[in-house]
């Protein structure tokens, strides 16, 4: 069974662990950290799935003449992933800025 698309949960897991879930937190803090870890993981899996799906739509020839990716498609996928990531970054910044404005005291 191909588990590769699910490996993103594993990578996110590592990042979340490094983010500092440790044994000395109160139960309430731990529960909150656990929820955050779960949200973070779900977010990353969703991000990966959407990236995969978008880049497939943009880069692949849907006539499916071959089961393999040709050189052009390979390059397209690499660049698509990089650009998708950059878009994610920009949108993240914009949303962060908007939230700050909404929370700023008047």
């Amino acid at each position: 069974k191909d588990r590769r698309p699910s490996s993103e949960t594993e990578r996110t897991e590592e990042a979340t662990m490094n983010a500092g879930a440790n044994a000395n937190m109160s139960p309430a803090e731990k529960a909150k950290a656990f929820d955050m870890a779960q949200h973070e993981m779900e977010y990353r899996v969703d991000l990966f799935n959407r990236m995969t799906s978008s880049c497939f739509a943009k880069c692949m020839d849907t006539r499916y003449k071959e089961g393999d990716l040709n050189v052009g498609e390979n390059s397209c996928v690499d660049r698509c992933a990089a650009k998708y990531w950059q878009v994610t970054g920009i949108v993240g910044q914009m949303l962060g800025g908007m939230q700050q404005q909404q929370q700023a005291p008047r």
Binding site: A21, F56, L69, D78
Partner: protein
């Protein structure tokens, strides 16, 4: 999955995390299965004069699956690289 990533946690928390991960993996595998079926169906099946798939349609679906899985594997590699790059950058910034 590298179990040493969970080493610092008490056993109960470790089990909770492992169980959450396994749950998410199952859910995601099923989701992928369904979405791949839908994608290949949409791209490969256009006529309904007969009840059964003809050999062209079958071949198309097979290649569609192969292609998607290979594509997904490649994106997975790039995603990991981009992730690692972003984390390295964050750690650099935290050290300042």
């Amino acid at each position: 999955m590298d179990p040493s990533q969970l080493e610092g946690l008490p056993e109960e928390d470790k089990q909770k995390m492992l169980s959450m991960i396994e749950n998410m993996q199952t859910k995601d595998s099923l989701r992928m299965y369904n979405s791949l079926v839908e994608k290949c169906f949409k791209d490969c099946v256009d006529s309904f004069r007969r009840k059964n798939l003809d050999s062209n349609e079958e071949r198309c679906v097979t290649k569609c699956c192969e292609k998607f899985l290979k594509h997904s594997a490649r994106v997975s590699v790039r995603f990991a690289e981009l992730n690692a790059g972003a984390e390295a950058l964050m750690q650099q910034q935290q050290k300042r």
